[in-house]
Amino acid sequence: MSADTQGQQHPLSLYFKVWGLLFVLSAMSYMVDYLQFQGLLRWGLILVFMFLKAGLILSIFMHFAWEPITLRVALLVPTLAIPIFIAFMAIEGNYTLSSRLNFLAG
């Protein structure tokens, strides 16, 4: 039997575990703000919890972990353009800020 006819079937207990984990991770990312962590600790924790949550939703709830490698590669490779664009726009943003501070201040 192929995935074509059967679809993705996984035990409910797995979903419940992931569900619980997502609740805990959300509560923890909320606590980052509630406890007013600042600086690198804040950004680091926000990113860690974000990627863990996103990974759980994508791999388990969206069944990405069980899809054929061909589909996974086809879907993931295009998204590699995103971090490159993030880097470009971060550089550009910092340049705009420095220009504003140099020429518009006072």
């Binding site: 192929s2 995935a3 609740f23 990312s29 709830f61 969206m62 054929p68 490698i69 705009t96």
Partner: protein, 223 residues
Amino acid sequence: MTDMNSAPKGYWQNMVVDWSADKEAFKVNWGKVMMWVFLVSDTFIFSLFLIGYMNVRISASEAWPLTSEVFALVVGGEHIPLLLIAIMTFILITSSGTMAMAVNTAYQGNKHATFWLMITTAVLGASFVGMQAYEWTKLIVEEGIRPWGNPLGAAQFGSTFFMITGFHGLHVTGGVIYLTIVAIKVRLGHYDKKGFQIVEITGLYWHFVDLVWVFIFAFFYLW
């Protein structure tokens, strides 16, 4: 079971075989592939919004409004930061859980449970949109936040906020309608012969909406 999910030999060879076999490359339900392709394109749209937000926030010479304060709620005299956003986050996660269960019951042929789980998911999604409407109203009426400026700091805050959360809210609204239609069709028996892959496909869309919210929550509200 001879597909590559279970084959430990030639993990990458399988991909080469799939691409070069001069036949369909993706051996999964075509509707599911189409949904995934749509979701990848949607990923780019949301990425562009968030990257645009990052760019204007970096380049803003004025201070960015403190989201922790802007989105605080006063409950019984207590000032609780980001409370409404936290509740919205938990609602969306809960709805993701009921959706995952609906996919499970659909493949077991339990149409009754599938219908009610999908309707529960849709109702949770609708309540999310309701809270977002409340949040927007509060920000526009009480805080005076506009797309072109606001009294709290950098003018770009309003335009990025309305654009990002508005586009996400539109997705949730669309998802609620989509879920309701599929749930009713499940109940009417429209998929009895075709199979219940449609529930899994609808689920993909719904989980994606939750996935996007994870990034918006981290970058817009917490950062």
